[in-house]
Amino acid sequence: MANSTTERSKAAAAETVSLMSIVAPAIGWLIPGAGHMIQKRWIRGLLLFVSIVTLFVLGLAMQGRIYKANGGDILDILGFVGDVGAGALYLLSLALDWGQGAIAFATADYGTKFIIVAGLLNFISIADAYHIAIGKKQ
């Protein structure tokens, strides 16, 4: 009796972990830091959210470019891969046609890099949320 209860609770815990290991990275991709918040790492999640969103928004404010899916130059493809990491921010930017202006001055190129880095940092954040979900990290 006690054994079956223990086994059931272990199975339930394993199921929760496996579900969380999918949900946390997915929601973390969509909303930066949310993968941590959903696992009750509130402060970490908030700091990640603020850092990544601020970089992305500053990039847009500096008239940085948003890359669309493309099969051309390798740097354009890598730019797209970086941008996609920002999740909902990237989708919103595409929907509202932000970041499509011609780069007219040097600092706009910094903006482009800020946007790419925001996406790449979110990829790291997603991996961290996954490690928390599988118990590899506290």
Binding site: L47, L48, S51, M62, I124, S125, D128, K137
Partner: protein, 58 residues
């Protein structure tokens, strides 16, 4: 909005260091320490690269 080279590097360093600190270490104390380490390295790199370019230009 325009940022000069240094302020752009400073903003980048702050936010990248926060993310690196949180994601690369396990406890709060180590996160803060690693974040500060990354920040110093980023800014140190900016100064080293700046001086290197100044020397190369001469």
């Amino acid at each position: 909005m325009t940022l000069n080279h240094f302020s752009a590097a400073l903003v980048f360093s702050i936010f990248a260091s926060v993310v690196f600190g949180i994601t690369h270490r396990d406890n709060a104390r180590d996160m803060v320490r690693y974040g500060l380490y990354c920040f110093v390295m980023f800014l140190g790199g900016v100064f080293v690269a700046g001086w290197a370019m100044w020397v190369l230009k001469r």
